[in-house]
């Protein structure tokens, strides 16, 4: 287990499409372990994707229960999603997002309020889950990473939606 360095924009790997995982092997479990360590090591971090640490595989992790805001909303606790696919989504919400790979900016992004996700879990078992609100945003943000999409690609207006980060921790 290890805390890995986070790739920062404009690293070209962040804009590539990640490949599906064929099978959950022990090596892959080790990658997942590192991903979780790296996510937990970042202050307030509630999600991470494998390409952010340079592994172009379709794996994301989300845990909104670890954050102040997420702790008291509906959530699944720690979610590890392998080959996640958003089957359906609905509603809309605007959330101020920050990304470990774009440390200087935050942005207001429009996301679906509700998502239905098909994925494999850490053991390689298929799961289908519904997620709403805060957690649904985190899932959409991380799944975007697997397709090489950054929140900058979803900003509608740099004048009203993009913010230079005013606070460094």
């Amino acid at each position: 287990m290890a805390i890995l360095p986070i790739l920062k924009f404009p690293d070209p790997l962040l804009q590539q499409k990640s490949a599906p995982v064929a099978r959950v092997t022990p090596e892959l479990s080790a990658v997942i372990g590192d991903l979780l360590d790296t996510m937990r090591a970042s202050p307030g971090g509630v999600g991470i994707s494998a390409p952010q640490v340079g592994v172009l595989k379709r794996i994301v992790a989300v845990d909104v229960s670890a954050s102040k805001r997420g702790a008291h909303v509906e959530n699944h606790g720690l979610l590890v999603l392998v080959n996640p696919e958003i089957l359906a989504k609905g509603g809309r919400q605007i959330v101020r997002e920050g990304c470990m790979s774009i440390p200087d900016y935050t942005a207001n992004i429009e996301r679906a309020q509700w998502v239905l996700v098909d994925a494999l879990d850490r053991e390689g078992k298929q799961v289908i889950l519904e997620s709403v609100g805060f957690e649904a945003v985190a899932i959409q943000h991380e799944v975007d990473h697997l397709d090489g999409i950054l929140f900058l690609d979803r900003v509608a207006s740099i004048k009203t939606d993009l913010f230079r980060r005013k606070k460094y921790r």
Binding site: I48, R69, R96, E97, M100, K166, Y168
Partner: protein, 180 residues
């Protein structure tokens, strides 16, 4: 290496940024930070630039061309090295304050006076008049940094007074950023 600010204001038209940045490039300046906006048809830009050797005063004449040809007001101002902040290190809690109501003088002053008294730092401010000509609505959105120890309930009370006095709506909410 010297830092200086360059502010540019003038009637908006295509090519202002290109001309200003051409001059800076030709003089050997590096643009460190910049922002620009258009207010009521006026283009306004402020840049912080560095030059390895030259001082602001030496670069200033290079802008004469755009001053006369494009009617731009260009002001250069040398920055002391200790004034240049590389990290935006605000230490408090960020909030968004939105204010709207019938347009009348004093809205910005009344609200910001209460903020200044409490050492709340305004990090972003946008005001606009929207709505129809006969029913103009004033909208102000502030992003502020609230230092520790500021009593938000007490500030709310003060805002309540302003709400009644100016018949405006004021909403204060913390900015919560999702870290992903």
């Amino acid at each position: 290496m010297g830092h200086f600010s360059v502010s540019v204001v003038g009637k908006d038209r295509p090519g202002i940024v290109a001309e200003v940045s051409r001059i800076l490039f030709e003089q050997g300046c590096n643009i460190e930070d910049s922002t620009c906006t258009i207010l009521s048809g006026q283009f306004a830009m402020i840049l912080v630039v560095t030059h390895p050797k030259m001082a602001a005063g030496e670069i200033n004449p290079a802008f004469e061309e755009v001053r006369s040809k494009m009617g731009l007001m260009v002001t250069l101002h040398a920055l002391k090295e200790e004034e240049v902040v590389h990290e935006k290190a605000f230490s408090g809690q960020p909030y968004i304050i939105s204010v709207y109501g019938a347009d009348r003088p004093g809205i910005v002053y009344m609200v910001t006076k209460e903020l200044a008294r409490r050492k709340v730092n305004i990090t972003d401010l946008n005001t606009q008049v929207v709505g129809s000509k006969d029913r103009p609505v004033y909208v102000m959105v502030l992003e502020v940094d609230v230092p520790e120890g500021v009593d938000m309930k007490e500030l709310e009370k003060e805002f309540d007074r302003i709400r009644k006095e100016l018949s405006v709506s004021i909403t204060v909410r913390p900015i919560e950023t999702m870290e992903l």
